[in-house]
Symmetry: D2
Subunit: 404 residues, 4 copies
């Protein structure tokens, strides 16, 4: 291990990665470069800078990646109406490949020979970081301290911190949040402790981004989202950049108690785990995107997308964002979005997102003259249906005749 | 056409099928047998009997099919978490194959040589009735009056009714409901008229089974559903028959404003159409079923089901319930449900269905000793993850090396 | 029907389309434009011109479409290793969309309001022609004489021909070929008559393009095909245009008795039918394409393609070449072919096509240093496999523990 | 490691597993139980018994598993027409789960706490053995010597053998076969050495089970195979047990030069590898099974099977035979085979397997009265096709109209 000279660490400034920073310096006798990304998690990044400096780090990178994150990762994922296991909007999964990419780019820039991260050996995030990193630089060395060290309990971690003069905030001394959390512009997640019993309800004060539906306003709110090539571009007529738009949806959705989720999911490493998620903006977006597709997308294209979506979701969940198969599927998904232009009107009320209208001036495939229950003036010949049914039934009729 | 001697008509007693009854007698000079099924649509069936009698029908069948409908059609469909186009719970689609089956059985019983129904030539229902009928009896003759006659406007229909002394209720004279509706224990649907503009919101007074979330109680309600082999068997500890259970969920769900849906869907006959649906019990059930599967189903089995679900949904939507491919898929779906046993707790509140707990005494695959964020005492060796990631990354690393 | 003024007919010059030409003139009192395409079927086209002239046709189009056919239809299809129902190389199916496209283009050019073709009402070709035509021009009128007229037996057809002075060659008078045939650069097909008994072997003298393996040379022949972005570009170092290359493969393959196929397939219109096919060049090409992909394509991309291939094949077989879903899938397939560059060596001998070597100077993912059974000097750490297996087994171990 | 007291070793009696036997005794100071299975590989098993005895083994199991192997593993796999990556018939993959099962059963029987095998850390077989074992006994310990020891070159292995008085046959001293081989009733495989260059042709004298097509008889041979519920049950009217039937097909196929394959495949552990295979009986069987399905299987069921087949093949290739998802898919596959009854006639000649007839007295879905090119007397109404095409085209026409 002594051949590692410089390592880029994904550094949040929190206790865990502060301990890792020190542990890397000690264990590998190497230089550590810190990389702290603003993905909209809501933390101030200045303290991370100060702490890194205090730990003797010479190369400190603090980056605002919010726009890139939403534009190049979140939105492409939503083009496929991506949900994992019927419910999870992949808020954590989709942030990892961007961090992996920046770690590799910074390693190249700083001539580092390794990268490191604070994900544990039981979770999906280690896989996502590392598959991404290997795909982008096959020769990179990766240090995953949680798989190497023996600080496997919180107590040992605190002891190590104190012994090494790493500032431990009061909340950690007191046990801190009972939950393991992750946040970015798409979501905030909770795992661990009280949630490890899948039969038990989460405590109300766990949730941070959304009010409960009970506490949401008694008045509904209606918004209109405009889509261009499958991506949302404006809210109520106001055009916004990708990350601004998602932040706005988060704010509105959170206010109305939208986007809470409590589920048991299947991790790629083989175990089931309980997670709670708040995805206010994403929940609105998924509903809206399906609605705009419903009038602009061809039936068979929509069904093809639906058939492929679970596979696409698994690829992202499992960390294969940078794989050739995700790129191939993305090509297909993107291709289908060319005509996905138009607007969707939604009513938000105490946890509910309801589509109440959708249309497209340029690309609607909804043909009222044909769909009408009224006389259509010959636009559709009902007699065609007889032949359609007859031929579709033919194979079953032949089979039924034989059975007789 | 003169070779048709007796026809079994799916008869609701409403205006349309009353006109059809007369039209069949006139056009085909044949005897008509009426079949009226109680699928939980909420209409009284006695008037249908009286009307049929008055029209000279000698063989009148009125049947309560509620239990069979829910037990043998709705629940098998829910085992697959079936949704069409990401949203529609297939309430109409799933009732048609049962009616087709009974039409064929009654034709056999009454020595009829044909069946008839009131579905139009533009919709999916004609396909569902007829594909089902042909699959069950390849030699059956099918009369679809809407594809044959020239009563294509409501006005002409009313004229025909009046000319033939078919009682027309006041509501029809006044134009009646502005919507084309269908109801059974799973749902009630609305199409047509005001909904033919996909950009316009449905009027609040259209909805019949659910209150609006706004009018739902201010207090949430918690229920617990028990599952046995993937089917719900009790609510709050009270065991019920399939149709009773669904009726109970409808009542609870409707009270809490659950299960409204407004969408544009793709019909099998090739056009897009706007539909609004109320599926209170089904919406609760889908959520609950996914939750019980989340702790009892193997990951890859769950993903296999998710991959096949859209296809399964299309088969049902398109009318292929009695096809060999639906039966083959059902075999797989049913096989996966053997271990889907346990309970789910849900909170219902103003349109929201939230899972707040799930467990299985016999079949939980949730292994706390492994999933824990705390020290697991060696149940899981984090070092295994390194090899897991390395080999999963191998093909991408080799590719990346070549690109270099 | 009198509103049709000019119709473009897909005209081969043979008996059937000559009768159709006359029948159109008579029945619709309209002008007929003939379109005869050289797709490599091997017929001389001059007689078609003469016959059309003799029938009073003023606008006669004779076109050599061989290059476009192979380059823009056959090769894109082969990029997906497309086979229908495990065996059929889609020789007929892939030619129809090109003809449909030209019919529509010529209708536009000649201001015709309809098109017509000689496909029967039982086959797939009518579907392929007409779906293609409708997709490209939604307002086109289509006349399918076989579905309209009453010349449903060969005898009636001959009578009509004689009555109308349509020259009937001796072979037709004698009953002609016992088979219904179709040919183009990709294949020649046989259906009907003796083949309608699926238990009976075709007669040896039916086959036209290939010698029997028994009669093929006693010496094998080795060829090398070079691929560029998934398409073959040269044989034995000689660069050729798409259609020249396929013609060359046909000649070589035919000589060696390669590419005969005898099968029962499922038609889109609902029946099973027996078909015999000769696809000498295509059979070589499929084998070669899979071989070049085997060293240049990522595993998961290859598997994704294999999973989607049967669907892609059905789309082409069923006539959906011009559909948005085929285009979406083609986008994916094409995207995957960027790295499919290299050569394949094949041995041809008495019906056998054997790959005996394959490599890519630029894109091989075959890494001998890792794959070797010898000491690899640390390129691959065998210990990684332990963790890989352990985590892949985890979910099954947890389940097995519960069953205990 | 000292806690292992008894280990069941999959023992062939060859050099590698003889070294492993000694190494286990030495390294783990444990008792070794040997298990040698006859899967039709063609080796005599008596020497394995003698060698085990000589090595001090007290519990020696020699078992004839040929019938179970073909009946319960090979035939269920062929019901799905299973091929991996378009070409490989999975001869090695399908034998491993049976061995894994017997290892676990013998461990239980002999109170052993571990099992061991001779598969290397680079291949798929370690995965297949171990996933199977873990699925069947989650607590089993597995020793994979090739991942633990340092005998990574052939030279070291030979030194170890000589030092420990393990008899080394002359062929090994001379370098032995240049290939790594595996054989059972389904196939024999070759990997390594000369084959590690994917551009080089295998030497003719490598092949052991088949003559070259060149050396096969100049006379073709015709055989008829009868199927019952998708499994072959007789050849030329002679009913045989599963393993006898496959052995017979191997003998016939081998004589006619059938079933050689040379390919580059993608291993589950992430690398590409070159393999050559001889599968004479299996190649005949696949062709015959597809042929009998072609007349007895419904189109959509056949397509469903084709869509799922690559996934099914990957599961078997990757070692997931004992997984719940393979079992779920098998349920579906088996269900579809109920009507797959009838006979297939095949011509075998110099490497070619040609279907020349197929029929089913009880389950043929081939309806000549409908499929005929002659007048069908009204069995099929060609006019139905017009409506069929019109409605299938509708969505594309609507889209085309909008583009205009």
């Amino acid at each position: 291990m002594s051949d590692i000279k410089k390592v880029v660490l994904a550094y949040s400034g929190g206790l865990d990665t502060s301990v890792i920073l020190k542990w890397l310096q000690e264990t590998y006798q190497c230089e550590v470069v810190t990389f702290t990304a603003d993905l909209g998690q809501g933390d101030e990044l200045e303290p991370a800078k100060e702490k890194a400096k205090a730990a003797g780090v010479k190369e400190i990178f603090i980056e605002d990646l919010k726009e890139e994150f939403v534009r190049d990762f979140v939105f492409p994922m939503f083009r496929a109406n991506t949900i994992y296991e019927g419910e999870y909007l992949l808020g954590t999964s989709i942030a990892r490949p961007l961090i992996a990419k920046r770690l590799i780019e910074l390693a190249r820039k700083t001539n580092a020979d390794a990268i490191s991260h604070g994900a544990t050996g039981k979770g999906n995030d280690q896989v996502r970081f590392e598959l991404g990193a290997y795909a982008l630089n096959p020769d990179i060395k990766i240090i995953a301290p949680w798989r190497e060290w023996n600080l496997l309990s919180r107590e040992k971690l605190l002891q190590y911190a104190e012994k090494n003069n790493i500032p431990v905030e009061m909340k950690h001394k007191n046990g801190g949040s009972p939950y393991s959390m992750d946040a970015n512009l798409l979501h905030i997640s909770y795992e661990g402790r009280h949630l490890e019993n899948p039969g038990a309800e989460p405590e109300e004060d766990m949730w941070r981004w959304t009010v409960s539906p009970e506490k949401a306003p008694n008045e509904s709110e209606t918004i209109e989202i405009q889509f261009n090539k499958g991506d949302p571009v404006s809210i109520n007529g106001k055009t916004m950049k990708a990350h601004e738009l998602l932040a706005t949806l988060n704010q509105i959705g959170g206010k109305h108690g939208i986007g809470r989720l409590d589920l048991v999911e299947n991790r790629y490493v083989g175990m089931k785990s309980r997670g709670c998620y708040e995805t206010p903006g994403g929940s609105i977006l998924l509903k809206a995107h399906r609605a705009i597709e419903s009038i602009t997308l061809d039936r068979e294209v929509a069904h093809l997308k639906d058939d492929l979506m679970p596979r696409f979701a698994s690829l992202i969940y499992n960390g294969y964002w940078w794989s050739p198969e995700r790129l191939a599927l993305q090509t297909l998904m993107d291709h289908t979005q060319n005509n996905v232009n138009g607007w969707v009107r939604l009513k938000l009320y105490k946890g509910n997102v309801s589509v109440i209208g959708r249309d497209s001036a340029t690309d609607s495939l909804f043909d009222t003259s044909i769909a009408t229950f009224e006389d259509d003036g010959g636009a559709y010949d009902q007699k065609d249906a007889a032949g359609f049914i007859k031929l579709n039934a033919l194979r079953m009729r032949i089979a039924a005749k034989i059975k007789k």
